[in-house]
Amino acid sequence: MTATVPPPENHPTGAERGAPARPTARAWARENLFNNRHNSVLTVLIGAGLVALTIYGARFLFVTGQWEPVRTNLTLLMMGTFPRAEQWRVVVQVYLLCAAVGLVWGGLTASSRDRARDAGVPFSRARLRDGIRRWWPVFVLLVALLGMTRTWLPLAFVASALAVGVVARRVMEALGAAWRGPAWFFAGICALAGWQVVSGTGGIAWWWGSALVAAAVLRTTRNVRTDARWQPLARFALIAGAIAVVRAVYAQFDFSGVGWDDWSGFQLNLVAAAASIVLAFPVGLAAAVGRRSTLPAVRWLSVGYIELIRGVPLITLLFMGDLFLGFFLPTEDPLSKVTRAIAVMTLFTGAYLAEIVRGGLQAVPRGQVEAAQAIGLSAPRVLGMIVLPQALRAVIPALVGQFINLFKDSTLLSIIALTEILRIRESIHGQREFLIVGIAETLVFVAFAFWALAFTMSRESQRLERRLGVGER
């Protein structure tokens, strides 16, 4: 498709300057489709099948498909039984998350622009066309969703959320590279606010805020010169101060929210996957480091945990969580169903993350550790300052892959009767008018929703892998 139109020869575009001229459609087809008798036969056969399939698919999508069950229950599929009165929280959250992404993106663009300027290299911003080419499945999903809605409200919502992201990005770009660090902090605040506008500020919510502020304070005062003797004390004072201030600020609010027990629909799939991978990270890190420890007891405990979990299917663990996880605790009232499910998914993901991180640890050359030891760093510092930064950088794509797997595996929550999207789909066919209507259609919709997100994420992580040059050193 793309290659059939040859570019005008007298105006080579910047990217193609110096590249060999594109072949004509005829030459291209002869080279790639009909280069020998065997391939010509294959092309004709597959081409005919493809045409038939396309006609059938198009008819299914636009003519014969009964999309009414999906159309009628769009909100149900996305939000499930999330209380409708609290829907505004999700709306605000999406705005805040868009702003967070925009801030980070803008900060990164600004800094690479400035670096390009310093190096005297021409810099071009990523264009919308490239964005659509890279993210087309998500756009198709959005268009399909908006095409099926019956009011203008969702369109206005999506458009304004995108606008918020774009504005945040522009602001950060205008501020320049100096603001790249704070951009991460602002984005963190946006994300945290996004989380807490839904979950409320009660309980231990203040803890996350203070962790964020303390990290930012430490980061900004990193280069302040102090007497080495006072440094630990000064740091301690800064952290304590940050925590106290944030605690006081949080105490001013009494903002209650919706717990994750109320999440359902496609949201639950996303939240369960995201929460488990974040919570599993420390577990996986500890198990990975433990597995490479020189202390046999630590090593064997880690190996036992990792291999036990990796040897059994997630379903058996989910059954454990669903049926008797609460029995391991002395309390009379059991944990909620979603909490138990996320706890089990965390336990499960921890073992897989451990193997991923172990791969990263193995990729760090021995000389790095030896050099660090030679300059007298203690074991925790060798790990924290030398090994982990290199190891984790190398495993980012694999982490994304694990997140995709977890996202796909979140459909298993339907087996323990949590109302994630697959379960909601099933309940749609319990509605009287849709008992046997559109069985395939609802499934195709669910499959496409997963596919669009998972495919885009996996392609982005492949790009990242190439950019980080993993496996090339």
Partner: protein
């Protein structure tokens, strides 16, 4: 100058202390959890031992008509293990074949073939396997175009009155082999054939080493094995015969052939396609990982394209492909537990039903996990032995 530090600062002592503390902590935590579990079980009057395994199962298994509900639960577990094994074995075979074909097709010089293979891989790899299983089970079988079982679609052999395929929403019949006569003797001869083939293999190898002539030991060994088996089959007057699927008088049951359920087919096909998409990527990456110079050098030695693949590219690619493929096989076997959703009587589904019949959950799940751990261990053990045999032996 040797530095002598005090005994309590030596690494050996410190590491011993750390490890003792860790082990003690883990043991304490485990003991605490176990104590809570036992206390809670006793409080809710759930037994704390494994005696339930000898109690009668109490329910029939749709997949296995011969199973008597009064048989003890451990027999039910064995049936479940057998069904899991059946799904896993057929799934692994199908996934390997499809994965190999698609993986090679992705590298085809035909743009259309390569693109179709890519669409297959990206399509199945990024869709939850559970959704695919449910799709097969509901959209293809339960609510699909096939008739319900009593009116099953019978596909006849051309020019004959017997079916070779029985298709319906719930049950599918395919031809199978039925034992006729002298089967024991036949299998003894088959084992002798394997021994003979091994002998021929060794003989051809030694001859090759001695004289340097081509050994063709695969052809020779397979040939001699086939010869033995065919001669034995004919001499014994056909120990096995085809059994074509036929339905009983009232049409409600399959009385011959191999009957399989829609649930089994949904599970196996969906998992095979899902895993095939992963194996295809493994195959592609492994072939690409063999340096191009290898293939070019083989071409310079006037090897044909097939010989280049067979003797140069594949042996090196295989070495790279084996470990990730082992992982995919393990994943497939673990994923057969998803058959629970479509009602396939695998070990997870049966255990779940049995827990629903008021059998103690912790012990049942412990047995279930044990089953899967044994599966995982056996598969990785076998395949690691194979892996060791194909890996490069470095000095």
């Amino acid at each position: 100058m040797p530095v002598v530090s005090s005994w309590w600062r030596r690494t050996g002592f410190l590491s011993a202390i750390w490890q003792a503390a860790l082990v003690a902590g883990v043991c304490l935590a485990g003991w605490w959890l176990y104590g809570n579990l036992v206390e809670n079980l006793t409080r809710t009057r759930i037994p704390t031992d494994f005696d339930f395994l000898t109690q009668p199962t109490g329910f029939a298994i749709p997949e296995n008509f011969g199973f008597d509900p009064s048989l003890p639960i451990w027999r039910m577990v064995l049936i479940g293990v057998q069904n899991t094994f059946l799904a896993g074995l057929v799934g692994v075979l199908l996934a390997s074949i499809v994965g190999l074909i698609v993986g090679v097709a992705r590298l085809s010089s035909n743009w259309l073939v390569a693109r179709m293979a890519q669409v297959f891989v990206e399509g199945f790899r990024n869709t939850p396997p559970l959704v695919v299983i449910v799709f097969f089970s509901f959209a293809v079988f339960s609510f699909g175009p096939l008739p319900v079982f009593p009116e099953a679609l019978d596909l006849k052999l051309p020019g004959s009155d017997s079916n070779w395929l029985v298709l319906s929403k719930s049950r599918i019949g395919i031809p199978s082999l039925s034992a006729e006569r002298h089967t024991g003797l036949f299998w003894i001869i088959v084992v002798c054939g394997v021994v003979a083939a091994a002998g021929v293999w060794v003989w051809r190898s030694r001859r090759h080493v001695r004289t340097g002539e081509p050994h063709h030991r695969v052809l020779w060994a397979l040939g001699s094995f086939a010869l033995v088996v065919i001669v034995a089959f004919l001499a014994l007057g056909g120990p096995y015969a085809w059994s074509l699927p036929a339905r009983s008088e009232n049409g409600r049951r399959l009385i011959s052939g191999f009957g399989t359920s829609a649930a089994y087919l949904s599970l196996t096909l969906a998992l095979a396609l899902y895993t095939a998409s992963h194996i295809a990527e493994v195959v592609r990456a492994s072939i690409l990982a063999v340096p191009k110079g290898q293939s070019e050098a083989a071409g310079a030695l006037a090897l044909s394209p097939f010989q280049r693949y067979r003797h140069v590219v594949l042996p090196q690619g295989l070495r790279i492909a084996v470990p990730p493929t082992i992982n995919q096989y393990l994943n497939l076997v673990k994923n057969t537990s998803l058959g629970t959703v479509v009602g396939y009587a695998d070990v997870t589904n049966l255990t779940r039903t049995s827990i629903g019949n008021a059998n103690p959950a912790p012990q049942s799940i412990a047995v279930l996990m044990g089953v899967y751990l044994v599966f995982s261990l056996v598969i990785s053990l076998l395949l690691n032995i194979y892996n060791r045999s194909v890996q490069l032996r470095e000095r």
